[in-house]
Amino acid sequence: MRNIPFVLRSALFALTMIFLGGNAARADQLLPAPSDSNRIATARDRVLPVVVSILTVRQDYRQGEPLLSVSSGSGTVVSAQGHIATNAHVTQNGKSFRIVFADGRELPAKLVGTDTLSDIAVLQVQPPKPETFAFAEFAKTLDLRPGDTVLAMGAPWGLSNSMSAGVVNNPRRLLVSLFDDEAEYEDSIGEDEPTGRYYAWIQHDAAIAPGNSGGPLVDLNGRIVGVNTRGMIVGGDLAFAIPGPEAGSVVRSLIDNGRVRRVSLGFRLRSLKGTGFSEGVLVNAVERGSVPENAGLRAGDRILKLNGEAINALQPIDLPALQKHIAELPIDSKVVLEVDRDGKRRQVELKATEQIRERGDENAFPPFGISATQLTAAMGRRRSLDSTQGLLVTGVRPGGPAAVARPELTEGDLLLSVDGKPVTSLADLNLAARPGAEAKPLIIRLERDGEQRLSLLTPVFGDQARTPLPELPKAWVGVEVQPFTASLAREIGLGRPGYRISRIYPGSPLAKAGAKVGDLLVALEGEPLKPANETSSEGFDQRVHDLTLDSHAKFSALRDGKPLDFDVTLAASPVDTSGLRTLAVAGLRAQLRELGFYDRVGLKLPMDRSGVIIDGVESGGAAGLAHLKRGDVIIQLGDRSVSTPDELSKALDHSLALAHGGLIPLQVIRGSQTRILYLERYWLNADAPESR
């Protein structure tokens, strides 16, 4: 069984619309009995108005560099102060959040806290002036039974204010199929961020889709009985929700403390399933060198009592409650386990230590051209690393300093020190590799495949060069032509083989000489122009390119069957797109380029039209949020006309510096229209470096 978190990444939408049609038909068939209709309406009116859509600008890392994108999820207002309960994977790597309310109002929000172990997070709306919000409440106890009607609310595929109905399939579902090993359960749900350790899921069939993540599952009493979290993208209406009481408890902790404190005893459990025992729970794994191992606990031991209280887990489904019970023991308290090993009973005393973070923060370090995560003990154990501290390389920019280091750094390397100074965080790296007058090579000590190695790396500070690709100038006459072979020309009645002018560029050498569309060019400098086939005009281009730049040439042509000559002064061919200057504007997260001759031709713009063309846009960056697209031509930013990328960059700085700053308007040519788009100031990250 493979299920996925139901957060919506923008690119998924178009791809998967096809599944929606199929699901809609199924949902109709699942409508509950008419007697439930009134209760459904009541529950709907109680919760749906406080269900929100969440737009997250995410910062992920690819090839060692940050990449902004937009994703969406759902959530519920759960306090009068505007706290929003959602999934932790909805807010994961979020740089900024916007909440869209049921009435269409849109407000920014801040992250209050996140708990990846339960996959719950809390945001708080930031209204312009203090406000009291309507909210819904979590169920205090879970009393769902298979067949109970439940309602899923949220924004499937980003379509807000959506509701579907279904029934509970199983209120206590562990995501372990008959084919899986229960011991691998946590790791299979999320490497480095195991989730679902402390609860069994509610399995239901109310239709949910990507975008529903974090939205409420509501019973007919209008209580939040679950938080929709996972589902099947194919293979039927299988949806999984975090139980409401557990989610509510985590949400309260996050609101009160910003985090959830839990205890870890340093070992993993498995149920007695298949062992023949009927009492206790098995120790499945003990970390090497850990406190429980030193205290004498071994894998295979059967724990019968915890602090004098009998504990049992006959089946895997019994484990989450037991794990939760252990996690809630008082931090730093003494824990006494009564264990059975080979029929002999013994006591093991442990200290309940606070659980450490499973995963460290990820960041990019441009001077090295890498992204890296701060190593945690848990991550180190999973990778069998010898070191317990360091920076784990998660991505390397091709051609960047780390990629050309000697030897090169690769993903999975653990950086231990730079020039002898230990590095355990990005802050350490910043201190160890400061910009100097000259780029000085640094000695990196790292762990790779259990070996400690050295590498020499020269950091690069500041902008990366982006240079146009110039061409050697070639002779050009400024027409597009269609080849006519002798036989085709005869059949069509053109008289002679040659190249018929199919487009003529205004102001080009042949246009100046009086040539028109429809003229048949039959000879150049007295040598016949004879196409080899009817598909390629390369023969013509080649003949022209072989002429000397700035020289004169004589074309012989036929117009309406009558011969005429064109004396042309050959010009240099226009610069193609790869030879034009580009600028990656970090604040906009977009690549801009000079408007070239062929752009004007392709877009049917006047040859004197100035502007800046968009070559690429990151969906989560300012340009993406303003709905700029590749191929758009920006002609004005704020109150300034722009004709080069540098002018645009200056116009942007100028607009940002204005004291009365509101929205920054952009005039854009898109297709046959001139449009107005707007940039929000806070989308623009002025701190980001600009690469030229």
């Binding site: 091709p398 051609g399 690709l469 050697l472 690549q591 752009d599 392709g602 063309i613 690429g616």
Partner: protein, 265 residues
Amino acid sequence: MKSFYRSALLTVFLLAFSAAQAATVEDYRDIYRDLTAKHAQAVVTVKFVMSVTSSGKEERIEDRTQALLVSADGLLLVPDRAVSVDFSAFMPSSGSQGAAPVAKSSDFRVRLAGSDDWLPADLVTRDSQLGLAWLRVRQSPKDLAFVNLADGIRAEPGMVFFSLLRTSDEWGGVPVFRPGLVMGETHTPKTVLLVDGVPGMAFSADGHPIGYVDIDFGRMMRSSRNGGSGLGLDVADVALQMTPIDKVAAATAQAAKLPVVASGK
């Protein structure tokens, strides 16, 4: 039974043909010795990073190619495909320029013969029609060994030529050579020699440059699209192209006068 005899006859014929071929095979040891002594130092390896913009973000990949030193002060000749690839050539209907992505290279680094250092290099210019580009070694050592393209001779169909290459450092960075054959000449759509060989500078047996051999990926794609199922086995177009040395030399002379575009950091 008939088919058995036919097969047997064909086998005998092929063996006889192979034997005749073997009898005419020359021993190239003298040519290898002379050619490597004369030009191997000018054949070097270049690494570069090719970038293509996708969803507003650059995707990058590091690659490697062969380069030829063509001046004592570090001017390098490389195939244009190592500098820029216009994907419109690979698409059935490309439309206007700019519709298809263009991959561009940067971060050029050169490993000179006998060195274990990678020296940065900068783009000077390119000629997409000839399929050539020129780099210049930054802070170049003086008096580098180079191939004088003005010393070239005209290639003709039927000529055997020799290409010099250098293995990667994983294989010791040693020179290797490959013989090739000029199979024909065409002026449509442009003047090139059609050859069997490997990409790179082609030399005559006595060490004169005769042309630059390369693959035209865009033309190959178009040709394969027009070739139907391929079962017709029309292999006449299956050839590399050699740009005559006079054109390569003329373009190189133009490039030699130009400054580098800009220095990367």
